[in-house]
Amino acid sequence: MSVPSQGAATVAVQAGGATLGRIVGLVALGVLLVAPYALYPVFLMKVLCFALFACAFNLLIGFGGLLSFGHAAFFGSAAYVTAHTVKVWGLSPELGIVLGTVAAAGMGVLFGSIAIRRQGIYFSMITLALSQMVYFLALQLPFTHGEDGIQAVPRGVLFGVIDLNQPFAMYYFVLAVFLFGYAVIWRTVHSPFGQVLKAIRENEPRAISLGYRTDRYKLMAFTLSAALAGMAGGTKAIVFQLATLTDVQWQMSGEVVLMTLLGGMGTLSGPVVGAALVVALENYLAATNLPVPVVIGAIFVACVLLFRRGIAGEIQARFGGASR
């Protein structure tokens, strides 16, 4: 598939707006640090978890050109693994999240090696089907507790010292996880590996003819994306103290597509913006009498028709280097 080619533009922007981008980044970080004093911390934590999830997804579509319609499988399975290991095995939260991430990465290797054999719509369909299998397993396996999900997951004590039952401690931990994931993605995108990935997105046969084993690159990107999605899911399980079927349903896969497209595919900050917007809409529209899915669906349709670059992408395109 070919996502509207912004690769070249993005690189130019990065060179031109490096200092400005750094300033904007620092301001954003400052806002994130003080945000829990002004806003409901649980809401912010939800935004951060979904932002990380969307960033992970974006790594695949925005930089690898692969539209996975089954990312909920990684997000949700990791949530289940983290919840189970923390609650039943009594592991510490950080270890639980690590195990969730590892499980998601393992699934990523398996799913990736099946899915990357096909391209375009077929790729999407395979990921969708595989994630449905995961959904039905989550419904059937005894440890996931069917419709109830795994409840009453203790937040626990981080590294044996920090009590995560304190909302602020929890928030800064989630922020740290998010920043770590974001840094990994940033590093990946700007590494030679990331450049090859973009080359594959732009023109796969050419990348092959240049001697790159594109399948291996795609599989690595898929696995990394799955692992980070898992990290987001595991963290969410600790924040909300439960893991349920909602996290593995295909609607969740759709939601992450929506967030990423809305914010801007192939931009680093786009998915964060998209996730914040969607979570905020769901949160604040719920209090009004407006039907939330209709509003979100309409925004999404408008986005596909009119702003295919997404919010961050449009800003970048309009204001050139000044955006990041």
Binding site: R117, S124, M125, A129, Q132, M133, F136, V294, L305
Partner: protein
Amino acid sequence: MMGTIFGIPPQALFGQLLLGLINGSFYALLSLGLAVIFGMLNVINFAHGALYMMGAFVSWLLLTQLGIGYWWALLIAPIIVGLFGIALEKTLLSRLYKLDHLYGLLLTFGCALMIEGGFRHFYGVSGQPYPIPEALRGGQNLGFMFLPNYRGWVVVASLIVCISTWLAIEKTKLGAYLRAATENPVLVQAFGINVPVMVSLTYAFGVALAGLAGVLAAPIYQVSPLMGSNLIIVVFAVVVIGGMGSILGAVLTGYGLGLLEGLTKVFYPEASNIVVFVIMAVVLMIKPAGLFGRER
């Protein structure tokens, strides 16, 4: 009683197979529509499940608001859904043909969200009952199970529609144009055929089939805004297994998968929901274009 087959009483086996065939009838109708649309427009119509739901809702509204019964609904509801499809295609979908196919998928996904969200907002998620038409109440005792007449009718109706659609596309002149336009739209346009209109009509026909399936489903399943959202994923799998764009593949796979699900329910009920996806993964590994598809 009368012995067993692989340790399973025959009435359970035949019963589940028959139920599987009924489910398969819906899979076949829905995947037929999807295949027709994909073949012509190269769009994966994510809104198909929502339009199926719409067909059921339209017939429910016809009955409760206007007092129009089942048999008329069988005709009217698909037409309404088809007209809605034309509007959708003309205003939204047609703007995306020059782009990658994935945008069609994303757009229809957004549409599905809106349609389902809208019905959900007004009617809630619990099912609305739709009575079985007078003429089809009661049932037949087949010896191994009691088959309600209505469910038998669903199998018959679905078979008739699927076969006639297949014949129309394979054997008539219109079908020939359609197939030609799929292969090379520019050339067909050059022969003086209005391809955009044909595209719209194809889309309308495809979604009308979904609407028809919705009407057929209304008396069996309750009419609920969420009735299409889980079915659509299974139907996607059916289309992929059959070979995307292959009409015959979609229909045969639809019925076959229904039977297979029924069989799974006898031997290992827990796996009955997964079996579709396992087969899809296997088929794609061995025969990437699907059972009846051609490599493009």
